[in-house]
């Protein structure tokens, strides 16, 4: 088992004929992901990835022909909200949006629509999700993983790779690694993903990678204490020494009264019984101490 993506995932790539979309679609295919269709308006009838994947003009046509149930979006920011809504309209249940720099107020409306339809969006501005040995959706390098039983959820991109690599090197494999993205308005929160890990019988422990700003880590800590108290969990927070005000600013502080500081987050996590590492390299050791057996 795993969460979000696995070997049964039938993936649609929106923007498959673009530079980024094409490159990463090939990487996903090489990893073993089942890519059943691509969409680029105006390029319907062509094929991509050396003829391996048929391209359609619309998501509706792609889904009708291929039975795609998951989509990953690589289209540029001005067209990305529309791409999410198109996937939603075609009946796709799980949508990953890799695109960055989408205006927050566009996402406000799009996320509300995704939730109203009962679908799931991960991102935007996220690296996607990988279930080692089964499928990867997004841009996380395939080579760093090792199949196993620890779930990982992160707001960051390259920092996630750093932690995954450290885990794999120490013999600690992953059930699924999910990057939820660092944008102010995103489709999935830490809590949304923790809920999936809790319900996954093959996830025995969880690593949470947070950053300063916002209150998502605090919410995750409180949820963990209440809903999955017995699951071993280790966290890392980036930005302990960042100068105040640059990431979070006034807008967040007037709502919560807290600056979204590393101290506040670390305090909340530790109160919930979650150990917080001071370097990514400490995470494997802490997992082992929490009862996770390396291979």
């Amino acid at each position: 088992m795993s969460i979000l993506v696995d070997r049964s995932t039938r993936l649609l790539v929106q923007g498959i004929t673009g530079r980024e979309g094409g490159f990463h679609a090939q990487q996903m295919l090489d990893f073993g992901t089942t890519i059943v269709a691509g969409v680029t308006p105006g390029r319907g009838g062509q094929s991509a990835l050396g003829g391996a994947v048929p391209v359609f003009d619309t998501c509706a046509a792609a889904v009708a022909a291929s039975g795609a149930d998951c989509s990953v979006i690589f289209v540029p920011a001005p067209a990305a909200p529309d791409a999410i809504l198109e996937a939603l309209d075609a009946g796709i249940g799980t949508i990953f949006c890799i695109t960055e720099h989408i205006p927050a107020l566009d996402m406000l409306k799009v996320v509300a629509e995704v939730k109203a339809r009962g679908a799931r969006l991960v991102g935007p501005n996220c690296p996607g999700a990988t279930t080692p040995g089964q499928a990867k959706v997004g841009i996380i390098p395939g080579s760093i993983h090792r199949p196993g039983r620890v779930g990982l959820v992160s707001r960051s991109g390259t920092l996630t790779y750093e932690v995954v690599q450290a885990m794999s090197d120490a013999g600690i494999g992953q059930s699924t690694c999910v990057g939820i993205g660092g944008d102010p308005i995103s489709g999935s929160s830490f809590v949304d993903i923790l809920e999936l890990f809790r319900d996954d019988p093959e996830t025995e422990g969880v690593v949470l990678i947070g950053e300063i700003g916002g209150g998502a880590e605090e919410a995750a800590a409180a949820w963990k204490a209440e809903h999955m108290p017995d699951v071993p969990m280790v966290a890392f927070i980036a930005g302990r020494t960042a100068p105040p005000g640059r990431r979070m600013g006034h807008a967040g502080a007037i709502i919560s009264g807290s600056g979204g500081t590393a101290e506040a987050k670390i305090g909340a996590l530790e109160t919930a019984g979650i150990r917080v590492a001071t370097s990514p390299s400490q995470i494997p050791g802490m997992l082992i101490e929490a009862g996770i057996d390396p291979d």
Partner: protein, 392 residues
């Protein structure tokens, strides 16, 4: 992007909200002339306010009253050129002083957790709202606008009644709606009015009370600037470090800090982590620098140039986890920059992930003095040690 008060007021006034007249001046003489005009129009005093993007300008002496044109000139001479938290005051806003009966607080802000626009108000105005949110959250009235339907009139009325503005219901509702409309129209993260004031004005039939927006703070969503071409003209380049301006032009995210170890990293989270580890190892980062995904060699070279513009940099730490970014591109950029750089600073490089092997070959073949490190912890230790050596 944060806006200066006068730009924020322009957006509010353009939306039809009651902002009393104001003008902007850069010299004491001009301030005197503006003051004379307002005083002749019936104002009993004028207020002169420093235009800076940092908070706490009132406490720093950057906001002062004047009762005559001469006094306004004197006050302006004191404020212009003043240093407020490292920012030199270059312009002031001049406005007739209001006859304030009551001060309130009102703001529309993007609420990340609720994923809605939040309208927040408080009957206590002119206060430090961040402190109030922490110490007495119950004193803040909160109303969330529907993400698709927007703020409803009943919600605006709820806010107005809660703030004790029943006698000014129509005006208050229009202001509540106006703040939310500006959020949407301008792609703002924050539209804040502090204080919103009930003021007394002399009308033809004696004094009248009405609501007025006396100060304004607006922050725009950087991701939406492209679809508002006019917004770029409101950017205050005077208040930005030239390195910040150059970084933005190159598509780099750069923040100058106080230390001596220059950092170049891909990804904001990993960049912050690298800085955290430098501090933990006893060093001080000279900057935050995220070269972003898919950085090409020319971008890497520009990043290197930016780091070296800081004379206090004694060592440079490059930490790249290749994903979208390719290690070989970064290595080529480093070699290029190394060949052209004005001064020699020890360079510790750690490149892993996509094309890391090619990167290692490039760095070795360049025959340069670049120090390769395998792990992040090792790279940090080397850089901190080299900076310390250079300082000794």
């Amino acid at each position: 992007m944060k806006l200066q008060e006068h730009h924020a007021k322009t957006l509010l006034a353009r939306a039809g909200l009651p902002v009393p007249p104001w003008s902007v001046a850069a010299t004491p003489a001009d301030v005197g002339a503006q003051a004379e005009r307002y005083l002749a129009d019936g104002a009993t005093a004028v207020v002169v306010k420093a235009q800076v993007l940092v908070g706490g300008r009132g406490k720093a002496g950057g906001v002062r009253l004047a009762h005559s044109a001469d006094e306004a000139q004197t006050v302006a001479a004191a404020i212009l050129g003043m240093d407020i938290k490292g920012i030199t005051v270059r312009r002031v806003l001049v406005a007739p002083a209001a006859d304030i009966i009551r001060e309130l607080y009102l703001a529309a802000v993007l609420d990340r957790a609720e994923q809605r626009i939040l309208l927040m108000g408080s009957a206590q105005g002119g206060i430090d709202i961040e402190t109030l949110a922490q110490e007495d959250p119950a004193a803040i009235v909160r109303v969330h606008a529907h993400p698709q339907l927007g703020l409803q009139p009943f919600q605006a009325r709820q806010m107005a009644f809660a703030l004790g503005l029943a006698a000014h219901l129509g005006e208050a509702v229009a202001i509540c709606q106006g703040l939310c409309d500006i959020m949407l129209a301008e792609d703002a993260d924050l539209v804040e009015v502090n204080p919103l004031a009930l003021v007394s004005e002399v009308g033809p039939e004696g004094p009248v009370e009405r609501l007025a927006l006396l100060d304004a703070k607006v922050t725009l969503d950087d991701s939406a600037l492209a679809r508002h071409p006019g917004h770029e003209t409101m950017r205050d380049l005077d208040e930005e470090d030239p390195a910040d301006v150059a970084a933005r032009a190159a598509g780099l995210s750069f923040i100058r800090l106080e230390g001596d170890i220059g950092c170049m990293v891909n990804g904001a989270g990993l960049a912050m982590t690298t800085m955290d580890l430098v501090k933990r190892a006893g060093g001080e980062p000279a900057n935050f620098l995220d070269i972003g995904g898919g950085a090409r060699s020319d971008k890497v070279a520009e990043a290197m140039r930016l780091i070296l513009t800081d004379p206090s940099v004694r060592a440079i730490l490059v930490n790249i986890f290749g994903g979208i970014a390719r290690g070989d591109e970064v290595a080529r950029g480093l070699v290029e920059a190394r060949a052209r750089q004005a001064r020699s600073v020890p360079l510790v490089v750690r490149i892993v992930g996509t094309n890391a092997d090619m990167a290692a070959d490039i760095l070795r073949d360049a025959g340069s003095d670049i120090i390769a490190a395998r792990t992040l912890d090792e790279a940090v230790e080397r850089a901190v040690a080299l900076a310390r050596q250079a300082a000794a």
